[in-house]
């Protein structure tokens, strides 16, 4: 599959925190807006996707059943294949893999992939919090909420605490991720929080669920993203800057060790990343940047470890010893990531590493452009299983040349 498909367009709408006076867009409008931006960049129109593929990510505000087909109806596109993203923060990358295999099999030649959500305008018993009914019903919730599990931050704090018990990592090392992401956000007009903060301000930020602080968490936003993927042959006719999918790997419901008492310090990237790199035929030294799914700084750190950029347990030291800025020796989260860029719903934040990776490899990252970027690693990380991190872990290698 190496180099068989390429991304030829992408779009990311401005994000909203619903400040007073801002227009309140629906999820349908965000999807259309993101699709329009991707189509414009590719020089294509929506009619190019009649008889082709349409991928639609889950939205917690999805207001009807058959969400992908309903979205086709809303957009006035009549595709021959619908792809549904249902893997949380892996939805964007999983739809890339599904589209690639459909294209390679000759079922379709191209697909428009969209995702948007408006978690801040969700009807909820807890205004301002994305407590969609699907999160607070059923056996998963019944064996968490009543026991005192208060959201993702508490769940991830348990994972981080265990890691800290087995390995060394300091708040200063993790804070470097948050500070660097904010620095990158200051260079990205699309990021939601752009005022730089210092390591001391990170350390002073309110402890939410010890050891996770406020500045370890993503700001939730309303927004949408999209991209277009097509066969390598078609890509060359569409753009002079296609971004090729060189390799991918996917794990779902990964366990390290026993299923009853698993080791939570290891993620599924430990299996999906080596597969992606093998398919791409690249080594760690060939990779010019990493776009992790940075829902928390320590997840970026574990991603670095499980991709094999350093050994398990040495992620904190790695963060300390490397310059994570766009022009440093290990550029990471160069758009500000979700930590400072914003998370447009749990299922759509995963578009951001992919879109930023493509932006970098097309040389379109302006004030935050990684010098001579030719090969990049991007990640999806989706869903929180019971007592473990990351239901789905997808690793993708992108390249500016096939």
């Amino acid at each position: 599959m190496r180099g068989k498909v390429a991304i030829v367009g992408y779009g990311r709408t401005p994000y909203s925190r619903l400040k007073p006076g801002e227009p309140v867009l629906t999820v349908d409008e965000y999807i259309a807006w993101a699709a329009e931006l991707a189509l414009e960049r590719a020089g294509m129109s929506k009619s190019d996707f009649d008889g082709q593929g349409l991928g639609v990510s889950h939205a917690e505000v999805a207001h009807t059943v058959n969400w992908s087909a309903a979205t086709a109806e809303n957009l006035g596109i009549s595709p021959n294949a619908l792809i549904r993203g249902d893997q949380g923060g892996c939805s964007a990358t999983s739809m890339l893999i599904r589209a690639a295999t459909l294209i390679e099999a000759g079922v379709i030649d191209r697909a428009l992939i969209v995702g948007a959500d408006t978690p801040l305008s969700m009807p909820s018993l807890a205004p301002g919090l994305p407590l969609s009914p699907e999160r607070t019903r059923g056996v998963f919730w019944d064996f968490q909420g009543p026991f005192g599990v208060m959201g993702a931050t508490a769940q991830f704090a348990l994972i981080l605490r265990r890691y800290m018990h087995e390995h060394q990592v300091t708040p200063e090392q993790l804070g470097k991720v948050a500070v660097t992401n904010r620095y990158h956000a200051s260079l990205n007009p699309g990021a939601i929080y752009r005022k730089p903060f210092t390591l001391q301000e990170y350390l002073d930020s309110r402890m939410l669920s010890d050891p996770i602080r406020l500045f370890d968490c993503v700001p939730i936003v309303n927004g949408g993203l999209a991209y277009i993927v097509t066969s390598a042959e078609s890509a060359k006719a569409i753009t002079d800057r296609p971004v090729y999918v060189l390799g991918f790997g996917e794990t779902n419901n990964f366990y390290s060790g026993s299923r009853v008492f698993p080791d939570v310090t290891v993620t599924g990237f430990s299996e999906s990343a080596p597969r992606a790199m093998e398919m791409a035929g690249v080594g760690h030294d060939d990779i010019d940047f990493l776009q992790p799914y940075d829902d928390y700084p320590f997840i970026s750190m574990k991603t670095i470890e499980d991709w094999g950029f350093c050994k398990k347990g040495e992620g904190g030291k790695f963060l300390e010893e490397h310059d994570l800025r766009f022009d440093g020796d290990f550029p990471m989260s160069t758009d500000g990531g979700q930590l400072s860029g914003g998370q447009p719903g749990g299922a759509n934040g995963g578009f951001m590493p992919l879109v930023e990776g493509v932006t970098q490899l097309r040389g379109e990252a302006e004030g935050r452009q990684v010098p001579n970027a030719g090969i990049g690693a991007v990640c999806g990380f989706g869903g929180i299983p019971y007592g473990r991190p990351g239901r789905s872990c997808i690793s993708v290698i992108l390249g500016s040349e096939a």
Partner: protein
């Protein structure tokens, strides 16, 4: 719009009722697989190791070891019933001979919490029908 409960209450189903009823009576039960012996938790439709649908609710020991913990200082899910208890110490506890579960540990200062700490279950009623296990240092 319906109001939000002070603390979340489970929607009890036939699948999960034995757990809640047992906890109301002061017992901890988990599903054990008659074929391979795997203890499944939370409740599953079949054994996650071997796929046997005949999982049997089995009484567990009430002792366990803290696998990890976090100290929650804010109520993140708007169930304000937690507010009075903050900071809430949430744990992953490895039940002796059982499986790993989320549970609250009480009767201990946050600064005294340690991974590897031995704890023992106690049970609190949360409704007419249901109880919930919590833990305190053994």
């Amino acid at each position: 719009m319906e109001s939000i409960a002070a603390k979340p209450l489970p929607d009890i189903t036939d699948l999960t009722r034995p757990f809640w009823t047992a906890a109301r009576e002061g017992r901890l039960v988990m599903q054990k697989c008659p074929s391979c012996g795997t203890v499944n938790f939370h409740p599953k439709p079949w054994c996650i190791e071997c796929g046997d649908r005949g999982l049997e609710w089995t009484e567990m020991q009430t002792g366990g070891t803290v696998y990890s913990y976090t100290v929650s200082h804010s109520v993140a899910m708007n169930h304000l019933g937690w507010q009075a208890e903050l900071p809430v110490i949430m744990c992953l506890i490895d039940i002796d001979g059982g499986a790993r579960m989320y549970a609250q540990v009480t009767d201990v200062a946050a600064e005294d919490m340690q991974i590897g700490m031995r704890v023992k279950a106690y049970f609190e009623p949360i409704s007419e029908e249901a109880g919930i296990p919590k833990f305190r240092p053994a």
